[in-house]
């Protein structure tokens, strides 16, 4: 090793780092010790030399990364997928390092070279990052900044970890080691490597993931609303049934009881077939689905219903068709014609009598209707409309940016809005100012949904997370990660225990609110999922998508614990039926109180050339 070379390198290093004092001291020392030959540790010298070399040659990033990539891809299948997990963050950070160091061209060519590996999973992120060309942009762009500032957690087993470490040491790729060290939080799990199924890399969130588990341990009262109509109906029906039974007992006497029981059963079956109009059969079914679901009192003052509406609701409950995996719903489709691509959203009233469409020119059109409904106009305000008067009653201003979604609470009076300004707000109809502002999302809040017991709202965001907020305190109660794209829609199961969310890539996730765990990832749609809805007893989930189809999924079947843990490691929601529409993306879905499914969409035929 040439001494002179080392000396120069050290000097260059000190100069570069701006260690002026050290530099001077070094030169002094150097002058003193020129005569005395000192032994240098060759290893240290090598390190120093490499440092100067690497810093000067951005191509080394490319080289080191492609080496690592080759190594990972040629590793044993057992560990390969675990090792693959680190490739994507390493790739991103290499790219951003290059950008930060000002090697614009090299950064771009590096990106172009390797981006194909990740395009299937992370297309949208790559599109965003592709434009980053200077360190200013890194600071400015939120995705890049959060990636730079936070470590990504990657789980791997002990052996994979050892393999990786050995590789990084043996090949002297201190560059990669540095990247891994700086930006990746390797979480070593004991035991066997995890199977492919959990290889759900999840989104690359640039935020501390420890927070997730912390947040998700908070206690949630996920039960159904106490004293809700359903509750009342159930009680009433149960009372009726008991009464009928008692009467029957009296009339028939003991010896005929057995006979009667059989006849009753037969009768029950019959009635079931005729979509269960009698209270007796209904009682059994409602209790079977909702038994054991705790009741929760709402912390919000509730509006009081009129006798009339209550009676009607009970009527609906009695006439509800029973749905299950073998009894699929009927779907009534509302097609908007001649919209010229201007329909932005649509909503259907629960009884299907009204359909409203929101158009690009900020107009609302209501078809065939009698009651009032709410919709949002295009820019930064929420308006309340009264349909009988066809007048705008109130304009709620508060958001600074466009409002993406508005939802009324299940009992009315309150509503929640989601906006581009990264907040969700809770309002009541009688105040022009919001009651609560939920802040915490890192990007636009794209959709909002009330929990059935009105104590929580869920929000889906462009930062690929879904959060659950306590309405009373405004606190974030749950943080769900797993989506790979913007969350486009949310739906709560009627018993308040589960939540479904759909994203722009066509994936649907089912979450258990109590435990904060993902239950079933669900793939099938090829276009963005625009809308989701649970059937009234929560047995089915309907989804509508940009791929021109309505799909119906079996919820109950997916919730059952798998019999053999190993084989059914992935529990996917079972797809029961795909109902393709004719060139009509499905914008809105809603189960009526009687379990008829309404769907709406704009007919958008391919243009003939």
């Amino acid at each position: 090793m040439e001494e002179e070379q080392i000396k120069n390198a050290v000097l260059a290093y000190l100069q570069k780092k701006g260690y002026r004092q050290a530099e001077l001291a070094f030169q002094e020392e150097d002058l003193k010790s020129t005569s005395s030959s000192f032994k240098t540790d060759t290893d240290i010298a090598n390190q120093i030399l490499r440092y100067s070399k690497l810093d000067n040659v951005p191509a080394s990033y490319k080289e080191a990364y492609s080496k690592l990539r080759n190594w990972v891809h040629s590793s044993l299948d057992l560990y390969k997928h675990e090792l693959l997990r680190i490739l994507y963050p390493v790739f991103l950070h290499c790219f951003m390092d290059l950008v930060a160091k000002g090697f614009q061209q090299e950064a771009r060519s590096f990106f172009q070279n390797f981006k194909d590996d990740y395009e299937t999973l992370h297309l949208r992120d790559l599109q965003k990052l592709e434009g980053v060309l200077s360190s200013d942009h890194l600071q400015e762009m939120e995705l890049a900044r959060s990636l730079r500032e936070n470590k990504v957690t990657v789980k791997m087993c002990q052996f994979s970890f050892d393999l990786l470490l050995q590789y990084l040491h043996n090949t002297d790729s201190s560059l990669m080691l540095g990247v891994v060290n700086e930006h990746i939080n390797l979480q070593v799990t004991p035991g066997q490597p995890t199977s492919w199924s959990d290889d759900d890399m999840g989104p690359l969130l640039g935020k501390p993931q420890e927070g997730v588990s912390e947040v998700n341990t908070k206690e949630i009262k996920w039960g159904m609303l106490e004293d809700s109509l359903e509750d009342k109906a159930e009680k009433e029906l149960a009372g009726e049934a008991e009464k009928a039974e008692a009467e029957g007992k009296e009339a028939e006497g003991d010896e005929a009881r057995k006979k009667m029981g059989e006849a009753g059963k037969a009768k029950k079956l019959k009635k079931d077939k005729v979509s269960g109009t009698a209270g007796k059969s209904l009682k059994t079914e409602t209790t079977s689905t909702n038994s054991g679901v705790p009741r929760v009192k709402s912390e919000l003052p509730m509006a009081i219903f009129s006798e009339e509406s209550e009676r009607r609701a009970l009527d609906d409950l009695r006439n509800r068709a029973r749905l299950s995996s073998s009894a699929l719903p009927s779907v009534s489709f509302y097609t908007f014609l001649n919209t010229h691509n201007s329909l932005n959203c649509a909503s259907i009233s629960t009884d299907g009598a009204m359909v409203v469409g929101g158009f690009a020119d900020s107009s609302l059109k209501v078809w065939d209707m009698t009651k009032s409904t709410e919709q949002h106009s295009s820019f930064s305000s929420v308006r309340l409309w009264n349909i009988p008067l066809t007048a705008n009653l109130v304009c709620y201003k508060g958001h600074n940016y466009p409002v993406w979604d508005v939802q009324f609470s299940p009992v009315g009076h309150y509503f929640a809005s989601a906006s581009h300004d990264r907040t969700a707000r809770v309002w009541s109809m009688d105040r022009a100012q919001p009651l609560r502002i939920m802040v915490g999302h890192f990007s636009d809040v794209d959709c909002v949904q009330w929990h059935v017991n009105c104590n929580y709202i869920a929000t889906g965001s462009s930062d690929k997370t879904v959060r659950l907020w306590d309405v009373a305190t405004g606190e974030c109660m749950r943080l769900f990660t797993g989506h790979r794209g913007m969350v486009t829609c949310l739906s709560m199961s009627p018993d308040g225990r589960y939540m479904a969310s759909g994203d722009e890539d066509g994936a649907i996730m089912l979450w258990d609110l109590g435990s904060g765990q993902s239950i079933s990832p669900l793939m099938g749609h090829t276009g963005s999922v625009w809308t989701l809805d649970f059937s009234c007893e929560g047995s089915l989930l309907a989804s509508g998508s940009a791929d021109n189809s309505v799909r119906i999924w079996d919820v109950i079947g997916s919730l059952k614990p798998p019999r053999i843990e190993e084989k059914n490691a992935i529990r996917r929601l079972r797809l029961l039926k795909t109902l393709p529409t004719k060139a009509t993306p499905v914008y809105s879905l809603r189960f009526s109180k009687r379990n008829l499914l309404f769907a709406a969409g704009a007919f958008n035929p391919a243009k003939k050339l």
């Binding site: 009927s330 691509n341 690009a360 021109n548 993306p585 914008y587």
Partner: protein
């Protein structure tokens, strides 16, 4: 490296009046401008997603700009920008113009996407690819055996009771009424278009097949109606929303009938002038049906492996049976030809010689007195020639080596042409037929260049018209003309019009030796298909140089 070049930035700077923007500044600005642009486009994508669309529009970009609080300056007025120019309209003109048609208003229609999980087959729904078992069946299926969860092992039985909606009944009556009443062509065309494109017609298919079968049997003498019916068949076949397979076997007899029936169209007195029209017509019908059959074989041949063999067999029977009428032979040959050159090679080629022998008496003026019969025989001959020719062309095309003009023999030119001349007269046996075909009065000239001139021309023209119908072969008409010209030149060699058969024979014997020269050495190079050479020469024996137009141009080099 960036999409935006620094030159672009400089140009933009100049356009707003900064003339001397330093290069370094431009270089530094370019990536930033690109970044901003991408940012806006990503905002636009967000707006698009929130509008629940999948195509990005300019409106989205505008919204994104608004989102970023950027005021968008309209591009109008810049000379180097592309934009949609709004033309200035005179106010008076605008006032005088009639009111434009109002755009269709947005409307909402309701239909059943599914009833208890089953999609009804209505026009509003996506046409079903095939019938899926009903829910009841599925239920039973799952109850019976849970293992058969994926496959519906039970045979699908369509419900016996067939309920037709009122609309479909009206539709059926309208269409059938139109066809039977022979309404004006534009109406019928509209009906056929609707049949070919509308979805939701599937329930009507059995009724249509029945209707076609009935009407064909009942109206064999009505050529126009038959034609319409065949067009209906075609429309039904090309409709992508109709699952016609189960009804194909009911349609095929009617179709085949229209191809090889002994008599199609009205029975007419042979000499009466109006009768002629119908006779001419039925050839067209047969041609049309032949194409239809080839279409059916192409589309359904893969699903029903015995479909084409069965059709071929039927046609071949008609072709081989000497007792059949000329019209039947015509239909059979036409049908076989439409099935492709391979089929022709397998079925027609081996039987050409016997068939020609059988045909010969009808072709000759002496043996066949009836003009119409002769006419028919000529037609059959023409089709046969075309079929064989196309078959040969396709074979020759497989062997490009064959075309190399290796045995170019300039001296042979005259000889071949002579030979051709003889063969033409031979095969037709009487050139008068040709002129009779075209010119109503037979010519009586004995030795005239004019007659010679018109004769080969006509032959070529007949051949040519077939080319266009076959569409597999494209012979430029120039070739035909030059052929004819050569003949005209040679016609100075003074051949008598009524050449005796013997004379022709003797000439013919000269001819093969000549063509052999060209072909045999080549066939040697052709180990794979040794038969091709001899086959070709034997065909030339039979047909004469009328086959030559079917030889591709490069191949013609050998002879000319």
């Amino acid at each position: 490296m960036t999409i935006l070049l620094k030159e672009t930035v400089q140009t933009i700077a100049q356009s707003i009046g900064i003339n001397n923007l330093p290069e370094e500044v431009a270089e530094a600005l370019a990536p930033d401008v690109e970044y901003r642009m991408r940012e806006i486009m990503q905002g636009a994508i967000k707006c698009m997603l929130h509008s629940k669309r999948t195509t990005l529009t300019t409106e989205d970009v505008n919204s994104a700009l608004q989102l970023h609080n950027i005021e968008f300056k309209r591009a109008v007025g810049q000379s180097d920008l592309f934009y949609v120019d709004d033309a200035e309209i005179d106010f008076k003109e605008l006032m005088d113009a009639p009111l434009p048609k109002a755009p269709l208003d947005t409307a909402v229609v309701i239909h059943w996407l599914a009833i208890e999980g089953v999609q009804p087959a209505i026009p509003e729904n996506v046409p079903l690819e095939a019938f899926t078992p009903s829910v009841e069946l599925k239920k039973i299926d799952t109850l019976l055996s849970k293992k058969k969860d994926d496959e519906f092992g039970v045979e699908v039985k369509l419900p016996v009771k067939h309920v037709l909606s009122q609309e479909l009944q009206v539709y059926f009556e309208k269409i059938t009424g139109l066809i039977i009443s022979r309404a004006n062509p534009s109406l019928i065309k509209a009906a056929l278009d609707s049949l070919a494109t509308d979805s939701g017609l599937h329930p009507l298919v059995p009724y249509f097949t029945q209707f076609i079968a009935d009407e064909v049997v009942r109206n064999l003498d009505d050529i126009d109606l038959l034609f319409s019916l065949m067009r209906v068949v075609r429309s039904l076949l090309i409709n992508p929303h109709i699952h016609i397979d189960p009804y194909l076997h009911q349609l095929m007899p009617s179709v085949i009938t229209c191809l090889v029936a002994k008599r199609l169209g009205r029975k007419s007195a042979e000499n009466s002038a109006p009768g002629r029209k119908f006779i001419d017509n039925h050839w067209d019908l047969r041609d049309y049906v032949a194409n239809l059959i080839s279409f059916i074989c192409r589309r359904f041949g893969r699903v029903y492996h015995n479909l084409q063999p069965r059709i071929t067999k039927t046609l071949l029977q008609a072709f081989l049976d000497p007792k059949r009428a000329m019209t039947q032979h015509y239909g059979a040959i036409k049908g076989l030809a439409a099935l492709g050159p391979r089929v022709v090679g397998l079925t027609v080629l081996p039987n050409v010689e016997t068939f020609l022998k059988h045909l010969a008496p009808d072709l000759s003026m002496e043996a066949q007195r009836s003009e119409m019969k002769r006419n028919e025989a000529m037609r059959v001959y023409g089709t046969l020639l075309t079929a064989i020719g196309v078959c040969m062309t396709s074979r020759l095309k497989y062997f490009p080596v064959f075309f190399l003009p290796r045995t170019w023999n300039p001296g042979g030119q005259g000889k071949i042409v002579t030979a051709r001349r003889t063969v033409v007269s031979n095969s037709l046996s009487d050139s008068c037929t040709v002129s009779q075909l075209t010119n109503t009065s037979p010519r009586k000239t004995t030795t005239s260049a004019d007659a010679q001139d018109s004769q080969p021309m006509e032959i070529e023209c007949i051949g040519h018209s077939y080319h266009s119908s076959m569409s597999t072969i494209e012979l430029p008409s120039q070739d035909v003309k030059s052929d004819a010209k050569i003949v005209v030149d040679v016609s100075g060699m003074d051949h008598s019009q009524h050449q005796s058969q013997d004379m022709a024979r003797s000439r013919e014997q000269v001819e093969p030796s000549d063509s052999d020269k060209a072909i045999f050495p080549l066939s040697d190079s052709w180990k794979e298909d040794v038969t091709l050479g001899p086959l070709f020469s034997s065909l030339i024996d039979l047909f004469g140089e009328a086959l030559l137009p079917f030889v591709p141009r490069t191949e013609l080099n050998i002879f000319l």
